[in-house]
Symmetry: C2
Subunit: 246 residues, 2 copies
């Protein structure tokens, strides 16, 4: 089976990595819309349009299902994409929330969602988590962490100053939803900031577990992976080499 | 006369501001390609394509000249844009270098250029400044400052950590070219970091002085200004209100 993985740029590589670590598919076709990255600062109509254009891109490949690794696209464009696609399309929000329940987190626990401005403004995480009976939900837009991760900064003073900026007035949460695919790369620093107490929900791990729960089977062989981009694909392949070995 | 000001997003508002402070035109038509911002992390072919599409946008307006406020576009797309436009197109790189000479900066002075990755990689500033006889030129990509300015952070710990990250090993320069239109908003912090010693070159001020030198005349009345965007224009208008009053 051939899976498409769509992301606004490089972030979705953290989801691809999970699909390489726990093989469910024979082939991964990764497409990053690097010519228009980032999506998380953009308008809902623009994000929907970009999501639909990704479906057009994948028309050239004979994929069996599509994973929208980008949380922002998952928040806004999933229904529109599902309407035009001829294969199932999965986002990362539903699996993330499913993982939150699966980990047995108490309904009274403090849940912190961190994501881009667009994802937070969509309220998709907040509404769906509240529906599951969780009572203490906090949502925070932490979009500046994206370019920092893109720069390859995964620890150190700049990141610490940024975490301090975002989290200084926030009590240690019991669980943090990493609502942006870039954030797994700084998961350690985020966890450290809160004295290693919170459980972190990672989109890549969540989608793999979610697909397994739907009946997809673990394969014995690591999938092959092709990488495409709307902009300089060499650049994305260089980042992929670096990130996939992190 | 009606001038078009094109930028990848909000950054060019610092150039528009200079045109409001020193009126040379009756009307300003500002267009920010906010659906695809930022350009500075993108490939040259993509940037050229976006520049040409901006010319198409301005075909709907009867402009007398176009100022490409974005340094990245100025570095890559100016010639292509000039070929298809039916009016003069000015970038900000040539005026910036002109301003450097105009300020009487010594040819032995240490010149630091800070800009996005794409602008620095184009080597446009470096080559043109060297042609003028300047001997000590250093170029540094400081792209993470862009999202910080977009977030509205113009001072404080996050910015200081970022300046420390970029500048910690750099001797105090005599002049700094702010090679990205976002940077004038943090000019004070940058100057402070270097103990207020360097002379700063600001694209907006430079283009105004440059146009005056070409014979454009100062008008008695502040121009009217219209703002357009490829994405949510409300957002850009809100930023404009805030920045233009800074």
């Amino acid at each position: 089976m051939r899976v498409g993985v769509f992301d606004s740029g490089a972030g979705g590589l953290t989801v691809a990595k999970s699909l390489l670590q726990t093989p469910l598919f024979d082939e991964i076709i990764y497409y990053g819309d690097t010519a228009r990255v980032p999506y998380g600062i953009k308008d809902s109509n623009t994000i929907i349009r970009y999501g639909l254009e990704a479906i057009e891109f994948f028309n050239n490949f004979d994929i069996d299902l599509l994973i929208t690794a980008c949380n922002t696209v998952s928040a806004y464009a999933l229904n529109d994409m599902r309407e035009v696609a001829s294969y199932p399309v999965y986002g990362v929000i539903e699996p993330g929330i499913w993982a939150l329940e699966k980990k047995g987190i108490n309904k009274d626990a403090n849940i912190l969602i961190i994501a881009t401005r667009a994802t937070i403004n969509s309220k998709r995480y907040q509404i769906e988590i509240a529906k599951k009976g969780f009572k203490n939900i906090m949502a925070l837009q932490t979009g500046m962490l994206v370019p920092i991760v893109e720069e390859g900064i995964f620890e150190g003073k700049v990141l610490e100053a940024m975490l301090e900026y975002y989290f200084k007035d926030i009590a240690t949460p019991d669980a943090i939803i990493l609502g942006c695919t870039h954030f797994p790369l700084i998961a350690k620093s985020i966890k450290n900031f809160f004295h290693n107490k919170p459980i972190l929900i990672h989109s890549g791990e969540a989608i793999v577990e979610y697909l397994l729960s739907l009946g997809y089977k673990k394969l014995p062989k690591t999938p092959s992976m092709q990488i495409y981009a709307s902009d300089n694909v060499k650049n994305l392949r260089t980042i992929a080499k670096k990130w996939l070995s992190q």
